[in-house]
C-alpha cells in the first residue's frame, strides 16, 4: 500500500518536474521583445490607464519575465541559473521602480543564496507532515513551527543534502551572484521595506520577514532576528480571529526559537486572550486555558508549589499574579471547578508575600467561594485532552510553621536503655580531631528521644497566621514514614493574631522501630494540604526521625494520703512529678505508704528502687528506710493494679550544739571538779544542788545571748577553755564568728529525698528498656531537743560514769524526756535542763582494739590518735545513751542519739574503765559501795586489798598506799592518826607487774584506838622505778611514740578506790 502510494507520488513529482522543466524551456526561448506583463492579482486594477507600450513598461515586463524564469530555474533545481537570472531581473526592475517585483527578486536571490549557503537549513523539518502552520496561509515556508527543544543552535550536522546534488562550495565559486551572509540580511531588509509599500503585500512581507528570521537564527544573530520579528507585529493583516490566534502563536514560537521566552510568553498570552476576546463570537475557553498554561514558563512560574517556593524562583510577581488570576478565571468559565480551586489555592499560597492585606482577604474569600463548588484533593489533576498535569497545592505558608518540637515523653514516661553492651566504643584515641566532624555529620533531624509503642506521643508546632483571618484547619494530622503510626486528626483553629500559636498533634506508634515524621497535613477550605518539612526551607530539616521502643508499662506513684495525718501533701497530679511534704520534729519517725499504680496495659515485672538525697550529710538511708523485698513480693503488678512501698522517715538532725553556751561559769566549776589528781567524791546529791545554780545562770545568760551573738563568739574565743575541750569548742566558735546566726539546730531545715523507682515489663523488658518514676520527699525538720553541752562525771559505781547533758527544748511545746530507762523529766518549751545519764564505762580492751585498727590505717598521723580516741569514747557513749521523748499535744514520740559526741582528753579516764580493779574486803566481808562497816576499839580489822588488771595489757608494777583519816563529819578531816590507829602489815606495798586478768592480793590489819568514823583511801600509782607514767591506756602499749606522752605526762595519774572505805569504830 505504502509502496504503491510512494510510487504514485514519485510519478506525480516526475510529471510535475517535467511540467516545470517544459515551462522553463519555453520561457527561456521566449522572445524578450514583446513579453507579456506578469502581475500580481491585486495589481490588475492598477493597470488601468497605464501606457502599456512605454519603455518603462516594456522593461518592467522583461524584468518580471526574468524573475519568473528565475523562479522556474530554482524550482527545477538550477540555483546557479536562478541566481544569475534574479540578478538580471534586479538590475532591470530597479531601473523602472517596480518595487513589489524588485522585492520579490531580492527575496528570491536571498532564498537561493541561503539554499546554497545553508543547505541543511530546515532539511530535518521539511518532511514533517504536520508542520505547515504557515503565517498568513503561506505554504511556501514550511517549518515555521519548530520543535521548541531544537530552538537554538540547531545541530547543523546533515550537510550536503541538497536534492540537486550540488556541492555547496561549488556555487560560491561559480556563481558571482551568490550573496554573502551579511548581504542576505541586507537584501531581506530591502525587500521588506519595498513590500511594506504595498498594502496588499502584507502576507508576503510577513513571509519574507519570517524567512529572514530563520536565516538570522541560523546565523545566530538573535537581536537582529528580534527586530525583524517585532516588525512582523506591526504588519497589518486582515485576518479572522482564528488566524490571528495562529499568528500570535507562531510569533510566540519564533520568539522561543531566538531565546526570547518572555516575549514568547507575552504573545502566547495575547493569543490566549484573543480566544476569549469580548468581540469573539465563539469564545474558546479551553484553548485559552491551554495557551495560558504554556505561558507559565516564560513568567518563570511553576505550578508545583513545592518547587516554586523552594527555589524561590525569581519572577515578576505582578505578572505572575495576573496570569494566575487569568487561569483561575478561565478554568472557572470552563466549568473545571477542581482546577479552579487548585489555581486559586496556588495563587494564594505562592503569591502570599506579594499581597497586601486587602488582597490577601480578597483572595481568601475567592478561594472560599470557588472551593465551595469543588474541593481540591491531594492528587494531581490532568487537564482534559492534554498532557498538562496540575500538581496538588499545599499550604506550607498558611499558616506558617515557625518551628517543630518533637516532644519527648513526659518525665514519668521516659525510658532508659539498660544494656551495657550498647555502650558506645569511643575508639582507641583519647582525642581525635575528627571527632567534631563526626559529631556534626550526625543525621539532621535525628531526635534524641524515644517514643514508646502504644503511648500517646506529641509533636508541637508553632504556627504563625499570615492571613490575619481566622483559619480553621480540619483533619490536621502528622505525616509519618517508617513504623506504623496511628495519627490522630484534630481540628485546629488558628486565630487571626500575629503571635505564634502552639498546636499539638498527637498519635500513637503501633510498633517499635524507626519513625520518621515528614510533615503534617490538613485541609483548609476544602483544599487538602500535605506540608512536608523538606519543602519548608526555613526549618532546615527534611524530616525528624526517632526511635520507637517496644511497649512498656507505666505507673503512677503517689503517697497514700489516708496513711498520713500530719501535713502530708501530695501534689503529683499537677506537675507530673509527685512530691510529698512532711513536717516533723527532729528525732521523730514517720511512716508513709507509697502507692505504685499501674496505669498501663502492660504488667510491671521488675522493680528497682534507689534513694537519692541532695543535701544530706548524714546520708539518705539514715533518714529514709524502706523494704525492697516487701515490694518485690508484690510483683508483678497487673494492669490497673497497685502495689505499695512503706517508707519510714526519720527526721534526722544534729542534736549536739557544742559551744552553744560555752561561757557557762557553772560548767567550769563542774569541769574543775573533774580535774584528775584530786580525789573525787562522787556525790550525786551535790551535783543536783549545783544544777539549780547552773540552771539559773543558763536562763540569765539566755537574755544576754539575745543581745549579741558576736560578743558570744568573742567571749568564747577569749575564754580560758580547757585545752582539751578547746579543740572542738574553738572550731565551733570560729564558725559562729563567721556566721552571725549559728543556729543549725534552732531553725527549721529541710531534708530532701528522691525515691527513684525504675521498672519494666512486657516486651520492653526483653529489650532492656526501663522506665523511671520519681517521688520526691521533702521533710521539714522542726527543732526539738538540743544538747548544748556535755561532760563526764564519775558515778557512784566504779564501772559507771555520769554523762551530764545540758538539754534545751527548742520546740515550743512541752516535752516529756526520758533519758534513762526509768527516769524522765518534763521540759517546757524553750526550757533547758541538765540531766545526768549513767553510762557503763568503756572497757579498755575495746578501745585498744579500735585504736589498733585505726593505727593500721593511719600509721603516720599521730595527732589523729587522740581525736580518734575521743571519737571512740563518743561512739561508746552514743551507743549507750538514747534520749526518747514525747512532745506536744499529740505526744509525738521522738528519739535522739548522741552520735559524734566528743570528749576532752581530761575526761577520758572517767569514761574508760579503770585498768585497775579493786577488790576490797574487810573482816572477810566485801566492801561494797556505800556499805557500812562497823568495828570495835582495839580489835584488828582485817583488810584485804585485791588488785586485778582489768585492762587488755599488762600493768607495770604499782605502788599502793593506804591512807587512813578520821572524818569528823563536819568538814574537817584529820589525817594525823598516829595516836588513834596502828596497822599490822604494810600500808604501802608494791604490786608486781600484772598480766591481763591477773590479780594480786595484799593482807593487812588495822587497829583503832578511839571511836569515830574512819576512812581509808586506797590509791595506787606506778612505781617510781617505772619511768612510764601510767595514766592513760596508751601508755600500756609499747610502741607509742614519745611525743604522745608529753601531754599526759603533765598529769600525775593515780587510781583510787572510790569511795574510800568507811569504818565506824564503836566501843
Amino acid at each position: 500500500m505504502l509502496s504503491t502510494l510512494k510510487a504514485k507520488f514519485m510519478n506525480l513529482l516526475v510529471l510535475y518536474f517535467g511540467c516545470l522543466e517544459y515551462k522553463r524551456m519555453e520561457k527561456t526561448q521566449e522572445k524578450f521583445d514583446r513579453p507579456q506583463l506578469l502581475c500580481a492579482p491585486f495589481e490588475r486594477k492598477d493597470l488601468i490607464g497605464i501606457d502599456l507600450d512605454s519603455r518603462t513598461n516594456r522593461k518592467k515586463c522583461t524584468g518580471r519575465l526574468k524573475k519568473h524564469l528565475a523562479d522556474l530555474s530554482l524550482q527545477v533545481g538550477l540555483p546557479t541559473d536562478a541566481l544569475a537570472q534574479y540578478s538580471q531581473a534586479v538590475d532591470i526592475l530597479r531601473g523602472c521602480n517596480d518595487w513589489l517585483w524588485l522585492a520579490a527578486c531580492y527575496e528570491g536571490l536571498c532564498s537561493t543564496s541561503v539554499m546554497l549557503l545553508y543547505p541543511h537549513l530546515f532539511r530535518n523539518n521539511v518532511l514533517q507532515r504536520y508542520s505547515s502552520l504557515g503565517v498568513g496561509g503561506s505554504d511556501s515556508c514550511p517549518g515555521t513551527k519548530i520543535n521548541p527543544n531544537k530552538v537554538r543552535n540547531n545541530p547543523s550536522s546533515n550537510s550536503n543534502s541538497l536534492p540537486v546534488g550540488l556541492d555547496p562550495s561549488l556555487p560560491k565559486q561559480t556563481s558571482k551572484f551568490c550573496l554573502s551572509p551579511d548581504d542576505i540580511v541586507e537584501k531581506y531588509k530591502e525587500a521588506i521595506v519595498h513590500y511594506s509599500k504595498y498594502r496588499n503585500a502584507g502576507v508576503i512581507e510577513t513571509e519574507a520577514s519570517i524567512k529572514a528570521v530563520h536565516v538570522l537564527i541560523e546565523q545566530k544573530r538573535y537581536l537582529l532576528a528580534a527586530e525583524f520579528l517585532s516588525n512582523v507585529v506591526f504588519i497589518n493583516l486582515q485576518l479572522s480571529d482564528e488566524e490571528k490566534i495562529i499568528r500570535f502563536n507562531a510569533l510566540s514560537d519564533m520568539y522561543n526559537q531566538i531565546g526570547f521566552h518572555r516575549k514568547a510568553a507575552f504573545f502566547r498570552r495575547v493569543a490566549a486572550m484573543r480566544c476569549v476576546a469580548p468581540q469573539n463570537q465563539d469564545p474558546d475557553w479551553c484553548q485559552c486555558y491551554k495557551l495560558l498554561l504554556l505561558t507559565l514558563d516564560g513568567y518563570r512560574l511553576s505550578l508545583d508549589p513545592a518547587l516554586f517556593l523552594k527555589e524561590g524562583r525569581p519572577g515578576w510577581p505582578a505578572l505572575q499574579i495576573q496570569i494566575l488570576q487569568e487561569l483561575v478565571g478561565t478554568s472557572r468559565r470552563m466549568g473545571e471547578h477542581g482546577l479552579c480551586t487548585r489555581h486559586q489555592a496556588f495563587l494564594l499560597s505562592a503569591m502570599l508575600p506579594y499581597f497586601t492585606l486587602q488582597e490577601k482577604h480578597d483572595n481568601f474569600k475567592m478561594l472560599e467561594s470557588v472551593s465551595s463548588k469543588c474541593g481540591s484533593g491531594p492528587s494531581p489533576l490532568v487537564v482534559a485532552d492534554s498532557s498538562f498535569i496540575i500538581p496538588p497545592v499545599n499550604f506550607p505558608n498558611i499558616p506558617l510553621c515557625r518551628y517543630v518540637r518533637v516532644m519527648p515523653p513526659s518525665k514519668e514516661r521516659q525510658v532508659e536503655l539498660r544494656d551495657k553492651l550498647l555502650v558506645e566504643d569511643p575508639g582507641p584515641f583519647i582525642f581525635s580531631p575528627f571527632q567534631s566532624i563526626i559529631t556534626t555529620s550526625k543525621v539532621a533531624g535525628k531526635i534524641d528521644c524515644e517514643w514508646v509503642e502504644g503511648d500517646i506521643c506529641e509533636v508541637t508546632f508553632a504556627f504563625v497566621n499570615p492571613m490575619y483571618i481566622q483559619l480553621k484547619l480540619n483533619n490536621m494530622m502528622l505525616i509519618t514514614e517508617g513504623v506504623e503510626f496511628e495519627a490522630w486528626t484534630s481540628t485546629v483553629v488558628i486565630e487571626a493574631s500575629p503571635e505564634a500559636q502552639m498546636v499539638i498533634l498527637r498519635g500513637r506508634p503501633q510498633e517499635p522501630g524507626e519513625l520518621r515524621i515528614l510533615g503534617y497535613s490538613f485541609s483548609l477550605l476544602g483544599v487538602a494540604s500535605n506540608c512536608k518539612f523538606k519543602s519548608m526551607s526555613h526549618l532546615k530539616v527534611p524530616f525528624y526521625s526517632l526511635n520507637v521502643v517496644p511497649a512498656l508499662p507505666c505507673v503512677q506513684i503517689f503517697c497514700d494520703s489516708s496513711s498520713s495525718e500530719t501535713g502530708l501533701v501530695s501534689d503529683g497530679a499537677l506537675e507530673g512529678e509527685s512530691k510529698v511534704c512532711v513536717t516533723l520534729n527532729a528525732g521523730e519517725t514517720h511512716e508513709c505508704n507509697i502507692v505504685i499504680h499501674n496505669v498501663s496495659s502492660q504488667s510491671v515485672e521488675c522493680v528497682e528502687v534507689a534513694l537519692e538525697s541532695q543535701n544530706e550529710v548524714e546520708g539518705p538511708d539514715k533518714v529514709f528506710q524502706y523494704s525492697l523485698e516487701n515490694l518485690r513480693a508484690q510483683l508483678p503488678i497487673a494492669p490497673g493494679g497497685r502495689a505499695s512501698l512503706t517508707l519510714y522517715i526519720y527526721a534526722a538532725s544534729e542534736f549536739l550544739l557544742p559551744g552553744y553556751s560555752i561561757e557557762d561559769d557553772g560548767m567550769f566549776s563542774l569541769m574543775s571538779g573533774s580535774e584528775p589528781p584530786s580525789l573525787i567524791s562522787a556525790a550525786p546529791s551535790s551535783l543536783h544542788s549545783r544544777q539549780s545554780t547552773i540552771m539559773s545562770s543558763l536562763r540569765g545568760r539566755k537574755a544576754n545571748r539575745a543581745h549579741s551573738s558576736a560578743s558570744n563568739a568573742s567571749s568564747k574565743s577569749g575564754s580560758s577553755v580547757r585545752s582539751g575541750s578547746s579543740v572542738s569548742a574553738l572550731a565551733m566558735s570560729s564558725i559562729n564568728a563567721s556566721t552571725p546566726m549559728p543556729t543549725t539546730g534552732l531553725c527549721n531545715r529541710t531534708l530532701e529525698g528522691l525515691i527513684k523507682l525504675s521498672y519494666t515489663g512486657g516486651r520492653g523488658m526483653e529489650n532492656k528498656y526501663w522506665r523511671m518514676a520519681d517521688i520526691g520527699i521533702s521533710v521539714e525538720v522542726a527543732p526539738s531537743l538540743l544538747v548544748t553541752r556535755w561532760d563526764a562525771l564519775p558515778a557512784e559505781r566504779p564501772n559507771q560514769c555520769y554523762i551530764v547533758l545540758d538539754l534545751l527544748n527548742s520546740a515550743s511545746n512541752e516535752m516529756d524526756l526520758q533519758y534513762t530507762t526509768n527516769k524522765h523529766i518534763l521540759m517546757q518549751g524553750g526550757e533547758s535542763c541538765r540531766v545526768p545519764v549513767p553510762v557503763d564505762r568503756c572497757p579498755l580492751a575495746k578501745i585498744n582494739e579500735r585504736v589498733r585498727n585505726i593505727r593500721k590505717n593511719i600509721s603516720k598521723r599521730n595527732a589523729d590518735g587522740e581525736v580518734s580516741e575521743s571519737e571512740i569514747l563518743g561512739d561508746h557513749v552514743a551507743s549507750l545513751v538514747e534520749l526518747r521523748w514525747t512532745l506536744g499535744p499529740f505526744d509525738t514520740p521522738g528519739r535522739a542519739s548522741l552520735k559524734s559526741l566528743t570528749f576532752p582528753p581530761q575526761t577520758h579516764h572517767l569514761i574508760t574503765m579503770a585498768p585497775v580493779h579493786w577488790d576490797v574486803s574487810l573482816n572477810g566481808q566485801r566492801v561494797e559501795n556505800g556499805s557500812e562497816n562497823v568495828g570495835k576499839i582495839g580489835e584488828a580489822q582485817r583488810l584485804v586489798i585485791g588488785v586485778s588488771n582489768s585492762s587488755g595489757d599488762a600493768l607495770p608494777p604499782l605502788t599502793i598506799v593506804l591512807t587512813a583519816f578520821q572524818d569528823h563529819q563536819n568538814g574537817t578531816q584529820n589525817y594525823r592518826l598516829e595516836a588513834k590507829m596502828a596497822s599490822t602489815g604494810a600500808t604501802k606495798f608494791g604490786v608486781p607487774k600484772l598480766a591481763p586478768e591477773e590479780s594480786y592480793s595484799h593482807d593487812c590489819g588495822l587497829i583503832f584506838f578511839t571511836t569515830g568514823i574512819y576512812k581509808i583511801e586506797v590509791s595506787g600509782s606506778p612505781s617510781s622505778s617505772s619511768s612510764t607514767p601510767y595514766g592513760n591506756f596508751q601508755c600500756s602499749s609499747v610502741c607509742v611514740p614519745g611525743d604522745h606522752h608529753s601531754k599526759t605526762n603533765q598529769h600525775y595519774h593515780a587510781w583510787k578506790l572510790a569511795p574510800p572505805i568507811e569504818i565506824s569504830i564503836v566501843d
Partner: protein, 125 residues
Amino acid sequence: MAVSLTIIGKENSPLYIWMDEGRDSLQLQYLAHTGLDVIQEKISVGQKLPGDSRELYLGLLYASEEYKIYGYTTNSKIKFIVITDVTNAALRDNEIRMMFRHLHSIYSTVVCNPFYVPGEKISSQ
C-alpha cells in the same frame, strides 16, 4: 519625562518599580518584563569578550507603538529599564544615558546602606 522606571535584580526579579500615574501599570510591566529578553541577549553577547569593559548603557531595547524601552545593566547584573513615550522627543539618547547614570549612583547609595540586604525589594520614600 520617563513613563516607567524599573530596577531588576540579578535573578531577573524586580526590586523596584515606578510607574507614572495614570498609566496602565500592567502593560508597562509587560513591556519591561519582555525587555529583559533583549538585555539578556545583549549581556550574553558581551560575555563573549571577557576583559572588555562593556558599555553599561544598552541603548534602546525595542520600541512598541507607544513606548520606547531603554536598558542599562551594571557589572553586578542589576538591570535598569526606563520606558518613555514614543512621542517624547525631548529625551535624546544622551539624556537617557544621563538618567541611567544617575539611577546607577542612586542604586549604589541604596546598596551602601548596611541595613539593606542585596536582593531585597527597594522602597522609595
